[in-house]
C-alpha cells in the first residue's frame, strides 16, 4: 500500500521560454510534460504527431537548434531557451510549400499523412547534413522514421527530387 505522502502529484511547474518557428513563447509547464505534448496541446501546433511515445517511430521529430530530435523523448522544460522548428514552420508564411513538401506531393510520398511531418523534419535535417545523398544514404537516414502506408519507395523518390531541386537552385536547407 502506498503511503499518502508518496502519492504522485507532479504539481511542480516551471516557467520556460522557447522559440518555436521564430515565435517566442513563455509558458508555465509541469516538469513532467513531454515536449511533444507541450507543442501539441499547449501551443496547439498539432502537426507534430505522436506515434509510439518511446522514440522509435519518428512521427514526433522536430528540429531543436537545427538538429532532428524526437519530441516524445524530451521534457518541455529541457527545451527552455532553445529554438525549435516544427512542420508548421517549414513552408514559411507564403502559400507555397517548401521544396521538400512539394516533392512529397509530386512523388506521392504520403498516404495517411500521420508520419509525414516527422519524416519531412528528418529529411530537412538530412539534406542539411548531406545535400547530395545516394539512395542508400537516404534509405539509411530514413530508417529512423516508420511509415506504414507507402512502403517508403515514393518517400525515397521525393527525397531525391527535393535534393536535386534544392541543389539546382543552390538553395541551402536552413
Amino acid at each position: 500500500m502506498q503511503e499518502q505522502d508518496e502519492t504522485p502529484t507532479f504539481s511542480e511547474v516551471n516557467l520556460i521560454s522557447v522559440t518555436v518557428n521564430g515565435h517566442l513563447y513563455e509558458r508555465q509547464v509541469s516538469v513532467r510534460m513531454l515536449l511533444s505534448d507541450f507543442l501539441r496541446h499547449v501551443l496547439h501546433l498539432t502537426g507534430t504527431h505522436v506515434g509510439c511515445e518511446h522514440g522509435v517511430c519518428g512521427c514526433c521529430t522536430v528540429l531543436l537548434n537545427g538538429e532532428a530530435v524526437r519530441s516524445c523523448l524530451m521534457l518541455a522544460v529541457q527545451s527552455d531557451g532553445m529554438a525549435l522548428t516544427t512542420i508548421e514552420g517549414m513552408a514559411g508564411t507564403n502559400s507555397e510549400l517548401h521544396p521538400i513538401q512539394q516533392a512529397f506531393q509530386e512523388k506521392h510520398g504520403l498516404q495517411c499523412g500521420f508520419c509525414t511531418p516527422g519524416i519531412i523534419m528528418s529529411v530537412h535535417a538530412m539534406l542539411h547534413e548531406n545535400p547530395n545523398p545516394t539512395e542508400e544514404e537516404i534509405r539509411h537516414e530514413l530508417s529512423g522514421n516508420l511509415c506504414r502506408c507507402t512502403g517508403y519507395q515514393n518517400i525515397v523518390e521525393a527525397v531525391k527530387l527535393a535534393a536535386e531541386r534544392l541543389h539546382a537552385s543552390h538553395m541551402e536547407v536552413e
Binding site: F10, R32, L110, Q111, F114, R148, G151, V156
Partner: protein, 797 residues
C-alpha cells in the same frame, strides 16, 4: 468531353494540408473544458476479478470519474456480434469493461477521466484490483489439446465455430491419384500497427441532446447507429465523425472497441468533452490482431503437374472473442484455390478461443494464409515433378475464356465466390519479363560459385474485393460553381478526395480540384458501411459516379429550358454549359445551379451575371416542375454490387540469403497487379508499395510473441519490428487491366492486394536460395534465427 480524369495520375488534393501539418486527426482536436481519459487494463491473460477498489483513484486531485463495470448500468452489454453465421455456434463478444473475469492481457477493467492524461494515468496506479489467476490458453496447440483449460467456461473444447465446405468429390480423386502429399503449414499472428493509434473524443451538448464523437475509425456510420441504440438517442442526435485517420488496415473497422462506448458514456455523465487516445503499448494489447492459423493440407496431382484435389483442415485463432464472426477463416477457405482450376476441394475449419487479443481482419484478412498454402502446394508439385514453378502454375490457371468462374464456395458476404474476370497467364508473363525470370538460373549459378545464395520466388493470388451490401453518394453543385460530393465511407490514406473527385469531374466537365469531398461524417451522409475489404473505391466510387451522372442529366434538362434547346444537345465542358456547336453562349455550372433553384433571392456574382443574360423565362405552371424533382443540381444514388469482384496479382522477388546468419535481403521485387479499371495509377501503385512493405514485415520481421502466460513479450516498436526504409526494396509495379463487368466503371478493389502474396513468394524464394540444403519452408513469419534453425534442422537429418 475535353479531358477524362478517370485513369490519370492526378496529384492528391489531400496533400498540401497534410504536408503543412494541418491535418485533423482525433488527438489534434482540443475542445474547451475537455477532460482526458485513461484505461486500466488487465495484466493477466485469464483471471477472476475478486474485487476492485477505485476510491483512492477518485480522491486524487484532478480526477473526475472512475468507471468500473458495476457503474455502467444498462450500458453493460456485450458488443453486438457484427456478422453472425450458422457455423458460429458459440459466439462471444466483450463487455465495455470486464465484470468478473478477464480473458486477455489488455482487456479494459476501469476507465478514469481526469484533467489531463498525466493525472489519469497516475489514477490508474491507485486502482486496486485483486485478481485470481486462471489457466491460460496461449496458443492454438494448447487450445485444441484434450482436456485443455477453457477460455470461456461455457464453451466446450474452446470451439467457437466449426465449418465445412466442399466442392466436387475430393475423396474419390485422392483414392485414384498418382501423387498425393500431406503437409502441416502455419502462420503466426501479426498486427496492423497504423502509425496513428486509436482515439475517441466525445462531446455531449445537453441543450440539444446531441452526442458528437470524433473517432479514429474505418466505419463511423455503423458506430453512429450503435451508439444511438446504446444511449437511446435518435440517430440524428448522434453524430460520428472519422476525421483524418492515420492508417487503419482493418484494425479500425471493429466495433465496438470498449473506449468507443466508455468515452461518450463519460462525456454524457460529466457534461464535458472527454478524449481518450490509445498509446502504442495499448495498441499492442488491445487493438485487434490477425493471422494465426495452422493448416493440415493434403493435395493430389497428376504427372503433368495438374492439381486435382485439395483437402484442407485448419484451426483458426480468434483470440478471446469473436467480434467479427468467422469472416477471416471463411475468406481463407474461399481464397485458397486462387487462380487455379481446382474442381475438387474440401475445406474444414475450427475456430478456437485463446486468451489473446481478439481477432478481426487485418489487411489481407485471411488471404495471405490461404495463398501461402496454395502457393506452397504449387512449388512442391514443381519440385516433385522436377518442373519449373511458373510452368506448373500455367498448367493450372483458369483461362480467360472460362470467366465467370465459380469456385463453388459461399464467400464472406454470403454471395458466390464467382470470379468475374481475369487474365492470369498475362500477369505471369509480365512478371517473368520484369524479373528476367528465364535468366535467373544463370545468375543464381554465378552467385553460388561466389558463395552467395540467391533465390527467386513467385506468389499468385486472387482476391475477392468490392463487397456489398452497398454505399451511397451525393453530388451537389453549389451556387459558386463548386461541387460538393459526400459518401458514407472514410479515408485513412486512400486518397478518396482525389479519386472520387476524378470520377465526379468526368461527368460534370470540370477539374477535379473543383470537387470537394466530405466523407466519414454521419451528419453529411446518413447511409453506409465503411472503408474495408478493398471495397470503398468500387462501391462508393460507383455510387458517386451514378449520382454525378444524374446531376449531369439534370443540368442538361435545366440548361435545355434556359437555352430553349433539347437536353441531348447540351454539353458540359471545362466548367461551362452550352448548346452543342454554340459555346459562345454559355453558363457556368454555378449559374446553372442558381437557375435550378427557383428562389427569388439569389446572391453573389453568378446570380448578378445570370440576371443580365437574355435567357428564357420560367415556364408556366409550378416553379419546380414535377419532372425536375428536387430543386438545385443535386442527386443521391446508391450502388449495391451483385457480388464480390475478384482482383488478382502475382509478385516475384529475388532474394539473397546468408546461410551463416539466416539474414535475407531483397535484390529485386516485382508486383503485377490487376484491379480492373484504375482510377488513379499513382494512388494504386502507392497502395501496392505499402501492401508489399507490410507483407515483407509479416514474412520476415513482424511476429507477435505470446509467452505461456499470454503476455506479448515484444509489445513495443523496439521489439516488434516494423520494416523501415532500409529493409524494404524498391518495387517495380505493372498492371494488367481486366475490367470488372459487375460495376459501371469496371473497377475492382486494390487496398489489400499488396500484402497478400508476400509470405508465399518469400517462402518460395528461401527454398530456392537454399535448395542445396533441401529446405522447405512451412511456416510464416520467419526471422533470421529461424532461417538459421531451419537450415540446421536439414543438416542434422
Amino acid at each position: 468531353m475535353a479531358t477524362r480524369w478517370f485513369g490519370a495520375p492526378v496529384q492528391r488534393s489531400e496533400d498540401p494540408r497534410l504536408l503543412r501539418g494541418k491535418g485533423n486527426y482525433v488527438d489534434d482536436i482540443d475542445l474547451p473544458g475537455m477532460l482526458q481519459a485513461a484505461v486500466l487494463r488487465s495484466p493477466h491473460a485469464h483471471a477472476r476479478i475478486v474485487s476492485i477498489d477505485s476510491d483512492p483513484a477518485l480522491s486524487l486531485p484532478g480526477v473526475h470519474l472512475v468507471i468500473t463495470a458495476a457503474d455502467l448500468g444498462e450500458v453493460l452489454e456485450p458488443s453486438p456480434l457484427l456478422i453472425p453465421h450458422s457455423a458460429l455456434t458459440q459466439p462471444r463478444t466483450q463487455l465495455p469493461l470486464a465484470l468478473d473475469e478477464v480473458h486477455y492481457v489488455g482487456q479494459a477493467v476501469a476507465f478514469v477521466v481526469a484533467d489531463d492524461r498525466y493525472i489519469a494515468e497516475d489514477a490508474l496506479e491507485l486502482i486496486d484490483v485483486e485478481y485470481e489467476p486462471l489457466p491460460v490458453i496461449h496458443s492454438l496447440q494448447v487450445a485444441s489439446a484434450d482436456n485443455a483449460p477453457l477460455v470461456h467456461t461455457d464453451v466446450p473444447g474452446n470451439v467457437a465455430a466449426h465449418f465445412i465446405q466442399n466442392v466436387g468429390n475430393p475423396d474419390s480423386i485422392f483414392a485414384s491419384a498418382t501423387h498425393s502429399i500431406h503437409e502441416t503449414m502455419s502462420i503466426e499472428r501479426g498486427a496492423a500497427m497504423p502509425m496513428e493509434c486509436r482515439g475517441v473524443l466525445a462531446r455531449w451538448e445537453a441543450h440539444e441532446s446531441m452526442l458528437t464523437c470524433w473517432i479514429s475509425t474505418q466505419g463511423p456510420i455503423p458506430i453512429r447507429n450503435g451508439l444511438s441504440a446504446i444511449f437511446h438517442l435518435p440517430e440524428h442526435k448522434v453524430r460520428v465523425v472519422a476525421p483524418d485517420v492515420g492508417g487503419g488496415f482493418g484494425t479500425k473497422i471493429m466495433l465496438f472497441y470498449p473506449e468507443e462506448i466508455l468515452t461518450p458514456f463519460a462525456a454524457i455523465k460529466l457534461g464535458r468533452p472527454v478524449k481518450w487516445i490509445e498509446d502504442r503499448r495499448e495498441n499492442f494489447i488491445s487493438s485487434n490482431q490477425e493471422r494465426g492459423q495452422t493448416h493440415e493440407v493434403e493435395y493430389a496431382f497428376d504427372d503433368q503437374g495438374v492439381l486435382l484435389a485439395v483437402r484442407d483442415t485448419f484451426v483458426h485463432d480468434t483470440g478471446a472473442y469473436t467480434p467479427y464472426g468467422i469472416i477471416v477463416p471463411i475468406i481463407t477457405a474461399c481464397s485458397l484455390p486462387g487462380p487455379y482450376r481446382l474442381k475438387h476441394y474440401y475445406s474444414e475449419f475450427t475456430v478456437l478461443y485463446t486468451n489473446k487479443v481478439p481477432v478481426s481482419p487485418y489487411r489481407g484478412a485471411g488471404r495471405p494464409h490461404a495463398v501461402f498454402v496454395m502457393e506452397r502446394i504449387m512449388d512442391r508439385i514443381a519440385k516433385e515433378l522436377n518442373m519449373d514453378r511458373c510452368e506448373v502454375r500455367s498448367r493450372n490457371f483458369i483461362r480467360p475464356d472460362e470467366f465467370p468462374w465459380d469456385v463453388g464456395f459461399v464467400y464472406q458476404d454470403g454471395g458466390p465466390t464467382k470470379y468475374d474476370s481475369g487474365n492470369y497467364q498475362l500477369g505471369l508473363d509480365k512478371l517473368k519479363v520484369l524479373l528476367d525470370y528465364d535468366n535467373f538460373p544463370k545468375l543464381q549459378a554465378e552467385a553460388r560459385a561466389q558463395g552467395r545464395f540467391l533465390g527467386i520466388g513467385v506468389g499468385y493470388y486472387v482476391e475477392g474485393t468490392s463487397i456489398g451490401p452497398y454505399e451511397g453518394g451525393s453530388v451537389r453543385v453549389e451556387s459558386d460553381g463548386r461541387v460538393f460530393a459526400t459518401t458514407g465511407v472514410t479515408s485513412q490514406g486512400q486518397a478518396h478526395a482525389t479519386t472520387f473527385a476524378q470520377i465526379v469531374a468526368d461527368q460534370l466537365g470540370i477539374h477535379p480540384s473543383e470537387v470537394l469531398l466530405t466523407e466519414g461524417d454521419s451528419q453529411s451522409f446518413n447511409w453506409g458501411v465503411g472503408t474495408f475489404a478493398s471495397r470503398a473505391a468500387t462501391v462508393a466510387g460507383s455510387a458517386l459516379h451514378l449520382a454525378a451522372v444524374k446531376v449531369r442529366e439534370k443540368a442538361k434538362q435545366v440548361a435545355a429550358d434556359l437555352f430553349e434547346a433539347a437536353p441531348e444537345d447540351i454539353e458540359l465542358v471545362d466548367g461551362k454549359v452550352f448548346v452543342k456547336d454554340a459555346p459562345h453562349r454559355s453558363l457556368t455550372l454555378g449559374q446553372l445551379a442558381i437557375s435550378a433553384n427557383p428562389l427569388r433571392y439569389a446572391y453573389g456574382e453568378n446570380a448578378r451575371q445570370l440576371m443580365s443574360m437574355n435567357l428564357a423565362g420560367p415556364r408556366q405552371g409550378p416553379a419546380l416542375p414535377a419532372e425536375r424533382g428536387a430543386p438545385g443540381l443535386e442527386a443521391t444514388e446508391f450502388y449495391s454490387p451483385p457480388h464480390a469482384s475478384f482482383a488478382s496479382g502475382v509478385h516475384g522477388a529475388i532474394i539473397d540469403v546468408d546461410p551463416k546468419t539466416g539474414m535475407v535481403s531483397f535484390v529485386k521485387y516485382v508486383a503485377i497487379h490487376d484491379c480492373g479499371r484504375v482510377i488513379n495509377p499513382m494512388v494504386v501503385e502507392g497502395q501496392v508499395h505499402g501492401g508489399v512493405a507490410q507483407g515483407i514485415g509479416g514474412a520476415f520481421y513482424e511476429r507477435l510473441v505470446y509467452n505461456e502466460d499470454g503476455q506479448i513479450i515484444n509489445a513495443s516498436f523496439m521489439d516488434y519490428l516494423l520494416p523501415t526504409s532500409a529493409e524494404i526494396p524498391s518495387i517495380t509495379v505493372d498492371h494488367v487491366e481486366t475490367p470488372s463487368p459487375l460495376s459501371p466503371l469496371g473497377m475492382k478493389g486494390a487496398g489489400e492486394a499488396g500484402v497478400i502474396p508476400v509470405p508465399a513468394l518469400f517462402a518460395s524464394a528461401i527454398d530456392d536460395a537454399l535448395s542445396p540444403f533441401d529446405l522447405r519452408v512451412l511456416e510464416m513469419p520467419l526471422h533470421p534465427c529461424r532461417v538459421y534453425e531451419l537450415l540446421k534442422e536439414t543438416q542434422s537429418i
